[in-house]
Symmetry: C2
Subunit: 398 residues, 2 copies
């Protein structure tokens, strides 16, 4: 029974080596040993098993220190593939990615009829099965679902616009459904993992991904791990009140951030306004928001004013993120982040005014640099994170 702990240690070191190769490319055994403070003997032993299992490869000689040559080790990110499945309120997007987050085939998109969730679920089963049949490089499936999500039991918590989804238990439905493991995560937390894996500037263990889309969510890494809470429902920034005397939200709380700056709210504002985006009523939330941002960029003063107003509210949320989580980096992502620099400027202005200077100075706020249409990469990142953390789930390692 000591084996679990010793085995845990071995797996931990395997994971550290794989993660190091993931983030640093080709490395010699000696440089890995130095970076991870492991003995050369331990590195030799662990990498031999990873080589034998086909997880990593040896490359030709690379330059070593003091003119010694040494053999490089590498994790071939293109060899292993994952499926990412992103559930949103109105559609499901499914894509195949390599470990670098590169999309390998056209995304599959299934519209969701809120009255017929079972048929959307059946579509997901069918599409994933066909992707698995077509690509034997797929090692895992990641799924991202909107919050509030009860991560530990696998269901969304009650929010009336997602009422029908409450009946779906994602873990029961998908955990053992396919020939490879499935991992389900809250969408904003999935986004935080994607930033951490795919943007080299976000290679920090203290990161907040602030998702401002149809919903408003947050994923926070503290010491490289997501903050989850006892039911997996922590970091629900969208339902934190920024005005306890404000209007009631469908979650039960009052003055929720989400109700003031989501893409849904912005779309409603545009329809009510009627002038900035005249045909907003016939557009999707995303298209209406993008039309607003385009109008602002082309100099429309009303559009600029509205972006400024939205940025101020997004800034209030950022101030709460500082005081609640004090991350080293905050990344704004999803539809509303598409407003770009004017939005970021408004957020930064609010932060500079309202956050204690020693905290504000320490934290970088930026826009996501991942492709805006690739929200599904977050789902892929969930699977890749597990691949790097628990290699023995995916390979026979002697």
């Amino acid at each position: 029974m000591a084996e679990p702990t010793q085995a845990t240690l071995s797996e931990h070191n395997r994971s550290r080596i794989l993660s190091h190769l993931y983030h640093h490319g080709v490395e010699s055994r000696a440089s890995i040993a130095k970076a991870l403070e492991l003995t050369p003997a331990a590195i030799t032993k662990i990498t031999a098993k990873l080589l034998e299992a086909g997880v990593i490869d040896e490359t030709g000689d690379i330059g070593g220190s003091r003119n010694r040559r040494s053999i490089g080790l590498t994790l071939d990110k293109s060899r292993f593939h994952v499926v990412g499945v992103k559930f949103a309120r109105s559609l499901v997007e499914i894509g195949v990615f390599d470990l670098a987050g590169k999309q390998l085939a056209d995304r599959e998109i299934t519209a969701i009829d809120p009255e017929d969730i079972p048929s959307a679920i059946a579509d997901v089963h069918r599409i994933v099965e066909s992707l698995l049949a077509a690509d034997d490089g797929i090692v895992a499936i990641g799924m991202a679902v909107p919050g509030p999500y009860l991560r530990n039991i696998g269901r969304t918590a009650v929010v009336s616009s997602m009422e029908e989804w409450r009946k779906v238990n994602f873990l029961d439905e998908f955990s053992d459904a396919f020939s490879v493991p499935v991992f389900v995560e809250h969408d904003a937390r999935a986004g935080a993992l994607a930033q951490h894996l795919f943007d080299p500037d976000c290679d920090t263990g203290s990161l907040a991904y602030y998702l401002i889309g149809e919903g408003v969510g947050l994923g926070v890494l503290e010491n490289g791990r997501t903050i989850n809470g006892s039911q997996g429902a922590a970091t629900e920034i969208g339902h934190i009140s920024i005005d306890a005397n404000g209007e009631r939200c469908e979650c039960g709380n009052y003055g929720c951030l989400e109700s003031m700056c989501s893409a849904v709210t912005i779309h409603r504002m545009l329809v009510e306004d009627g002038r900035i985006v005249p045909d907003a009523a016939s557009m999707t939330h995303r298209d209406a928001c993008n039309a607003l941002f385009a109008a602002a960029a082309s100099g429309n003063a009303d559009a600029r004013g509205l972006v400024e107003k939205i940025g101020t509210i997004v800034g209030y949320g950022a101030v709460t993120i500082f005081n609640a989580f004090n991350p080293e980096r905050i990344v704004l992502g999803d539809i509303v982040a598409g407003a770009g620099q004017p939005l970021l400027d408004a957020v930064q202005r609010v932060v500079d005014e309202r956050v204690i200077p020693e905290l504000a100075e320490h934290t970088t706020i930026s826009l996501s640099r991942l492709p805006a249409d690739a929200a599904v990469t977050g789902a892929a990142a969930v699977a890749i994170t597990q691949f790097l953390a628990n290699p023995s789930m995916f390979f026979e390692i002697a």
Copy 2:
């Protein structure tokens, strides 16, 4: 160089065994092995070293399973002592405690002249030295300081009423000042550790301690560890806005929770009111609050109304704690928690109205059961937590 990792594993298992004995009293090697999933051989090896170092003791035979007798192991909580030093805005309290949190001598209290911080610091040095000289069972010193505290660099962040304290770097000032190690922690986080160690009902790794005193603070355990943030300034609930359009706080933010329900604010309300506690102006913050709570308990309708109003605001903060951290348990502590059941009822009412039912049902909200005058126990808990986590800092372990 593999040694650090192997040594870390050994220390980790020593810490787990010590913590298990701390929370469970006398246990046989076999029951420890079972609880911690370690082999009997590993337990025998580790406990032998702990016995040799004098950290734990063998007791006589205890009942084993199936009528086998076995020898008990125990951590004598009365043998090892710690000093707790609690810095508040207007005074420093210093006490000696055993590992169970039992106070061993009268507390020493030093008033702070805000214009002469250096003399308060000198007092702390002098008092701690004399306590160390009088008790060679003291193994560590814990200090608790008000937030916002930049834990990693050792200073409070700027808040104007604490301006002079900014010049003090607690780590520089105290880390190497004494013959035993010193640990400094944010006061609400120290309070969370105290609840975790000293209240058996709080033996959960998912705990929020909601400190409502002269300041309003929060300490959160996630998976048994405090959430700290990149600068150690996370979980600053007192400066999270509950009304982004509210009045400006000295921290720079608007509508901060602390400015609406701290003991300082309540005291000011009582002075302005003039009727509920007629001589409030001549009282300390604590005495004025206690007079209010006594008036409410004796049936004064205005006093009851004010406690209800304060409880509602404390409840808004609790709703934010649910949405930000989703803890399994929330404990209300410090001066304002002295209002007792009427305050707790108001908080629960707000939570029941505003939190998603599946989250609200899962989390217990309670009043601290630790002695209200023993805020300094939090400082002691900081030291005891380190003693249990890093035994090799305190003993020669071969």
